[in-house]
Point group: C2
Chain length 327, copies 2
């Protein structure tokens, strides 16, 4: 592989001049720059990013921390991040935390020690600390004291879900609450409860310990065990809703005739299950894309117009809630 010395020799210039040109760290004449570029091309020279990153104290790498890539919400978010940053010449490296805060801490050290240019994180700062990092933008799970963040409007999402359910003149309602330590699911729950309380509806709250598929399956079983005659379930994620529909199938309970369900997220598979899932659409791709844009502005010392972005959510009507007023 060609070295900076080979480039300098072929260009007929000093190593110091070539180094200045490559690192943009001082004056190089237009003529020298042309010679250097030609030599770089002829030799197929690639400056070693590690050497460059040591010199410049930053790389063209962005770290993305996700709680769990097997939850289909997060690959959508990652796609938005990659689509934006790839166009700007950055590579995204991904740390899959698997809902394990120790692993998150290890990734953070690795990111820091490899001079990563910036971090996007969907693991909030209430769970682990990010002292070592600037710039940093939180996506989705933003925690309580993040400076730069983007997420969807979960309070409105919870309200929308509860209102959609109330329009069907439901019987007994179970609200499944997502994990308490995740701010997003807490806000959703607040929205749901606010509307249900206003309508003076009777409802029960069941807690689910995580968004992992195995916990969704466990929660679905608990709902049927404790509330065998329940009419309506408001789920904290599509995975929870899909697990519930599966459990209803095993128990010969028809959806939506005997049990109606509304999900949350609008993951791609929610339109492919039977029956297709009524749910709240979160703009996961946009969260990733716009969050990456904000980080890009921070990394390049540009002005950030809005430090905290909240994106709207929408109701997606499919087949798991009954039509208005019919039972």
């Amino acid at each position: 592989m060609a070295t900076i010395r080979d480039v300098a020799k072929l260009a007929g210039l000093s190593v110091a001049t070539v180094s200045r040109a490559i690192n943009g760290s001082g004056y190089v004449s237009e003529e020298s720059r042309k010679k250097i570029n030609r030599a770089i091309k002829d030799l197929n020279f690639r400056p070693n990013e590690v050497a460059r990153s040591l010199y410049q104290k930053k790389s063209k790498l962005v770290g993305l921390l996700l709680p769990d890539i097997s939850n289909p919400f997060f690959p959508l978010l990652a796609k938005g991040v990659e689509d934006f940053l790839h166009g700007k010449g950055y590579q995204v490296i991904l740390g899959n935390v698997q809902e394990n805060s120790e692993r998150a801490v290890d990734y953070i050290h690795a990111f820091s020690q490899n001079n990563i240019a910036g971090v996007l994180s969907a693991v909030d700062g209430d769970i682990i600390t990010y002292d070592e990092f600037k710039p940093l933008v939180f996506l989705d799970r933003v925690g309580t004291d993040s400076e730069y963040s983007i997420h969807a409007d979960d309070l409105s999402g919870g309200e929308l879900a509860a209102r959609a359910v109330l329009e069907t003149a439901p019987g007994g309602i179970v609200v499944i609450a997502g994990p308490k330590e995740v701010d997003r699911s807490h806000e959703r729950l607040q929205g749901m409860i606010k509307i249900l309380n206003q309508s003076k509806s009777r409802y029960f709250v069941v807690h689910s310990s995580s968004f992992l598929l195995e916990d969704a399956v466990k929660t679905a079983q608990e709902v049927f065990e404790h509330f065998p005659l329940i009419d309506t379930v408001i789920a904290p994620s599509d995975i929870h809703a899909i697990a519930l529909i599966q459990e209803a199938y095993r128990r010969n309970i028809r959806v939506p005739a005997d049990l109606q369900v509304i999900g949350y997220d609008d993951i791609p598979i929610s339109n492919l299950v039977v029956p297709p899932l009524t749910t709240i659409h979160q703009p996961a791709y946009e969260i990733g894309y716009q969050g990456a844009e904000m980080l890009y502005q921070l990394m390049n010392n540009k002005k950030v117009n809005q430090k905290k972005i909240v994106l709207p959510v929408t109701l997606i009507e499919r087949d798991t809630l009954r039509k208005k007023g019919r039972k």
Copy 2:
């Protein structure tokens, strides 16, 4: 933050000695080593990985290239990789190629330029070249001339799927073939066709251009348009099978009474769809775990017992094929 100089000062030793101890690059007495370790602990010193990686020419980072993290097969594989390597003190950074070979090339350069210790790739070497990389282990999509590789036995998997279908005394059969350039789906198809030909069954082959969800949906629609009276479909992935069941639902076709389907992969959601999907189980987690183990042996100059590993697959009987001989 503490530097190597602070450590040397506190330990009462030269920077060169401390550097030798940290990098394992020369003799350091047992007594000096103890002093250094105590100083490192007292100062909470973390050697900068970039500086260390420049010196040692390798890092504790492993690059994992995946074709598409929104395909639930790959997060399972990634989980196996992370579970093995995390226990050995390596961090896994993930490049999500999104079935785009240009993006794969960009990741490879980024991995190379950041002195990554090794690469695990599910993007095969027939699509892009990996000249810059050693060590390298291919997972799942191994291509034709990989030296180190691990994948499931897709030929047997295809045979198993076809045999399971034949036991139901099927009517007309459609085989959906996965993308031609993916070696795994090609082998599956060979297995299926071999058994169907032996039994002298009549069947049609429909080609699907990728494993992306949107292509699976498109293919499902094409199957119903071209073969409205088809009885049985052998799918190249669970996503294809789930898309087909959804399309049957939209057309009021009952599964499995009027249309039976077998999937491939056994992704977690395949047990949660309605009806639960009969499929071929691929050991995705094991592919990741054992592939990471092989890479670990290579990175640490240990003996690799088996350069090419092929793992067995199994039939998972659920509800989308009819019972034997009944229609």
